[in-house]
Assembly symmetry: C2
Homo-oligomer: 618 residues x 2
């Protein structure tokens, strides 16, 4: 996998070119590689061995604290101490000014070794980035810096029991914490009351503090909460109170564990229901003798009512990271089943029963096993390539010229729903194939693949469900800026197909790809032809699926061009390596891309089968 | 679900007509319904409440015995006492001479309530049927009858650690048990030594005896085992020895638990590795003073070398039952998620954020949720219909005229790989959609759907993997008897499409269906055009998938015709019921059937992508 990562980064995405930009001027391929090596080592030594145990001994609340296995504690500690949390940030913050794409590449190792444990880091990372982007100077120092330093861990508190996908319906209430609250050095101080559901890492003792970023609403003078998403504000709610300098006071804020969710997978990180301000831990805001007010203490981030916008600044990168995690679970299952297929003897090659007295062959010799491995390779490595491409676009957006940044931003907006949803769906399928390659053994806990499959099932749900991604894509992203993102993507696709002209073997795929995107473009127009939002979005899911498969076909074709070029240039990684990439690309074009047309046909016809279905008919 | 079952049985498959046949002459719709009612009640009262506990407290070996929860014991006892195990057999055996299709319909309730617990019954049933078909008179009385009476339970011992799909490679060895062994009243007596893997119900104390049916090989004079599947024989190996009259002697046979498999799902029934003849329970064959010989005592069933053929007599019905189980898991998830969707408020109908201060709607109002429910309905009810159709064909084969029986037999041969594989694949997908409808809640153990999904994952693996089914279909079944089964199926399809002429709404589906089958037929010919078995079977999986979707489309079209007819006849079950069936059929034709063409294209082109892939390229 390291070889593939390296090929995608350096040969395909030309990551080394970033070192010519001022921010990354101190870097070189060597410094990038040393980050990858450190990450790979920690993942191998600390995360991989802890993965099954974190699943088998799921987090449990003993009345005092949430217990996790000791190996989880060690793994998280090793990550916190690695400096990776701050890696992308400025030198002066203790960071390495690492490009985002290298940062993500480093994190692939942790996701592959243990997605549940890697979640602590991903959440803290997203939390810290949000604070660094939207917090006041004091908030950055008091809360952001300890997160970057790995001393504290962070959470994102969005959902509530009655408000999952529909964040506009949250009811957590934030009221100003009396006179003078406005002038708290840590930010305008509020008292929060409400319940937050699905909070990963919401309670544990793996760090001396937990920084909760909480969405809540500030009631108007009559006590009424503003309706919809526009009324949402963002607050910092530390588990343990800090003074104006960010030093721990030792006093507990009024955030209480209400329960643990018992999950199908992803058990490395506890998932919690938290009660804010229920009165379990009454807290004075500043340790003075004033009467304790009800509610958990929270500090407003940015202006009131801008909470969702700030959260979405983080959310887009979080979604790409979900996709990367799904991709790495796909890679993990692929490698595990490849190893099994190379070592398990079973049956004879032609299945006719001939040669029954001879030895059995390794199952990698069977065509259908190769198909299952090839499909996994196409899904998992394709998904990884897409995640890295998106990360590269993030770098472009951050450090490119203003034109480059604009283009990258538009493409990112369009690709994010795919980068999140496609790996979640198809690398889950890859994990199912990994089980299938193992036969009955894959259905047992003696092999790792059943856990990958369970873990991966979360990815279509969290950080915006599959349905949310579909509506985002067809409802917003393809139409945004008069279809600017779509036009840019089509032009990128055309660049790729143009490069195929020098490779005759890629001619047919190039034409198939152009056809698919043309059909997608027509279907999007057809869906919106009469401007009926409900009707258009009734088929947002087949559109998402068709779009996803088309984007991945583009990614594979572009990767194939790079592989062809490398073959011509003497195949520095050995010929087999590139042949494998080309065969996976061909698999994708022959077996996968043609699937888009039935999906597109549904969208094109403005099919109303689902819309017309009546509750009483079920 | 009872209403759907009843519609499929009586309105669609005309099961009442069977009562005109002599064997079923005492029966009527009322007697059939009373069996269904009893089954539904036991399933509701005993199986459903035990299902989660059987999963959470998986079978464990305490050194003495395999422990299962008390509720498992109660459920299995209730089934054993119900008389259902013998229901299909002759009155004189204590049976009810129930048609197979009614028998299967009765068992749908148990599969839906708890697939793991239902497995005890399904195995015992298959085991008893095999003995009744192939055992000697004495074997039927001594071993078969106690199974039919529900006093003992049975297992099937086929796989070994080194021989899963490749049964020809089993190494369990059976040698004649000394002089006089040939004349044992219970059948030629052998001593078996070997290890059997994946044995469901292999050890427990839920019944006073366990009857293992074991595949083993009899060595030639030089001690060499005969190669391949043709050398396989079948033996009865009781856990506790019996005398010539089948009375328990209390002496333990040498069958020892070597380990429990820790499974992803299907945990209601223990799955074991058994050691035969390892010397743990040395046993004399008849209680005489003769020296104890090594090996577990087994009695040969039928002639030596015919074991696999006898096993496959049972296997075909077992495969249809696997499909039925997968279908019922699909139904269970569908009903659970429908219930959730009807009660969970979330979001607004058009998703535009308008009406944010009004109440949320129930999620069944969202088009994409309806799509997910409709897809589940199409998968699960379609799979149930196919299972019942196959069961009806079994009745036709058993009690129809010789022509009818021959036709039914040919169709069954062809349809069995689909009846087994299609529900296993698509009702697993249905269960994934059931999780998705629940959002985050579906990912927790507070709701039943995650267990259905885990349970269902086994069905693509056991009783012949997905790949085995694919090779069976394209390698044998479509070619058998010069394509006789395929010709019969095409003629049935033509009958269905002809009946659509009176229903204009079914005209387009009928044409699409004819096209799909014509394309399938061409693809099968193309695959075998140059007679290269390895090349043909390299695409057996896409062929299986295309064939499966086409068969299901046929089933749905045929069901739709029945629904249309019932609507015209005054809609006795209420109009909504039939509208739902029609909408599910339309969903299948608009969203699912078109998927067959990319699969068919791969077969048609004799694609060699998987075959050409080299181990070194992965």
């Amino acid at each position: 996998m390291r070889d593939t990562l390296s090929f995608l980064m350096y040969d395909w995405l030309e990551v080394e070119a970033l070192t010519r930009r001022p921010r990354y001027a101190d870097h070189s391929r060597e410094t990038f590689d040393s980050v990858l090596e450190t990450s790979e080592r920690i993942a191998r030594e600390k995360f991989a061995p802890a993965n099954r145990r974190a699943d088998a001994e799921e987090p449990a609340f003993d009345g005092e604290r949430v217990r996790v296995p000791e190996s989880t504690r060690d793994a998280v500690a090793a990550y916190r101490e690695s400096g990776l949390l701050a890696a992308g940030h400025d030198y002066e913050l203790g960071g390495m000014q690492l490009p985002y794409v290298v940062d993500m590449a480093a994190n692939t190792f942790f996701a592959m070794a243990s997605i549940g444990l890697a979640a602590f880091a991903m959440l803290t990372y997203a939390n810290a980035n949000l604070l660094m982007a939207h917090g006041s100077g004091r908030q950055r120092r008091a809360f952001g810096q300890p997160l970057l330093d790995g001393r504290w861990l962070g959470t994102m508190c969005l959902s509530e029991p009655q408000a999952g996908s529909s964040l506009g319906d949250i009811r957590t209430r934030a009221v100003a914490d009396g006179p003078g609250a406005e002038a708290d050095p840590l930010g305008p101080r509020y008292r929060l009351t409400g319940n937050k559901m699905w909070i990963s890492g919401g309670e544990h003792d793996l760090s001396e503090n937990i920084v909760h970023l909480v969405l809540a609403k500030i009631p108007d003078e009559s006590g009424k909460l503003p309706p919809g998403p526009k009324g949402i504000s963002l607050f910092i709610v530390p588990r343990v109170m800090v003074d104006a300098e960010g030093r721990l006071t030792g006093r507990r804020n009024d955030v209480a564990l209400a329960g643990l969710n018992h999950k199908l997978g992803y058990r490395g990180i506890p998932n919690t229901l938290l009660n804010f301000g229920e009165g379990r831990f009454p807290v004075a805001a500043d340790g003075s003798a004033e009467a304790v007010r009800p509610g958990a203490v929270g500090y407003l981030v940015g202006a009131a009512g801008t909470g969702l916008a700030s959260m979405f600044h983080m959310m887009n990168e979080a979604r790409i990271n979900v996709g990367m995690g799904a991709a790495m679970l796909g890679c993990a299952g692929y490698l595990a089943s490849l190893d099994y297929a190379r070592n398990r003897p079973q049956g004879r090659v032609d299945g006719s029963g001939k040669g029954a007295d001879g030895p059995q062959v390794r199952i990698v010799e069977h065509a259908d096993v190769r198909r299952m491995l090839l499909a996994q390779k196409a899904y998992a490595e394709g998904a990884l390539a897409l995640a890295l491409l998106c990360a590269r676009l993030v770098d472009e957006k951050r450090t490119g010229s203003s034109d480059e940044a604009h283009v990258a931003g538009c493409l990112l907006e369009l690709l994010t729903p795919i980068a999140k949803s496609w790996p979640s769906e198809w690398c889950l399928e890859a994990n199912s194939l990994a089980i299938q390659v193992h036969g009955g053994y894959g259905y047992t806990r003696d092999f790792p693949v059943e856990q990958y499959w369970r873990d991966n099932r979360l990815n279509m749900i969290h950080e915006g469900t599959h349905g949310i991604q579909a509506n985002d894509l067809l409802g917003r992203k393809v139409r945004a800026g008069d279809g600017r993102g779509m036009a840019l993507l089509l032009s990128r696709v055309a660049q790729t197909t143009a490069r195929c002209r020098s490779h005759p073997a890629l001619d047919a795929p190039a034409r198939a790809l152009s056809d698919a995107f043309a059909a997608l473009n027509r279907a999007a127009a057809a869906a919106w032809a009469d401007g009926d939002r409900r009707k258009a979005l009734a088929n947002s899911m087949p559109f998402l699926q068709a779009f996803g498969h088309s984007v991945l076909a583009w990614v594979w074709l572009d990767v194939a061009v790079a592989a062809q070029a490398a073959l011509l240039a003497g195949a520095p990684r050995g010929e087999s390596f590139y042949r494998g990439k080309l065969q996976a690309a061909h698999y994708f074009f022959r077996h996968e891309l043609p699937r888009v047309h039935p999906w597109i046909a549904v969208v094109d016809a403005c099919d109303t089968t689902s819309l017309d279905m009546q509750d009483a008919w079920f």
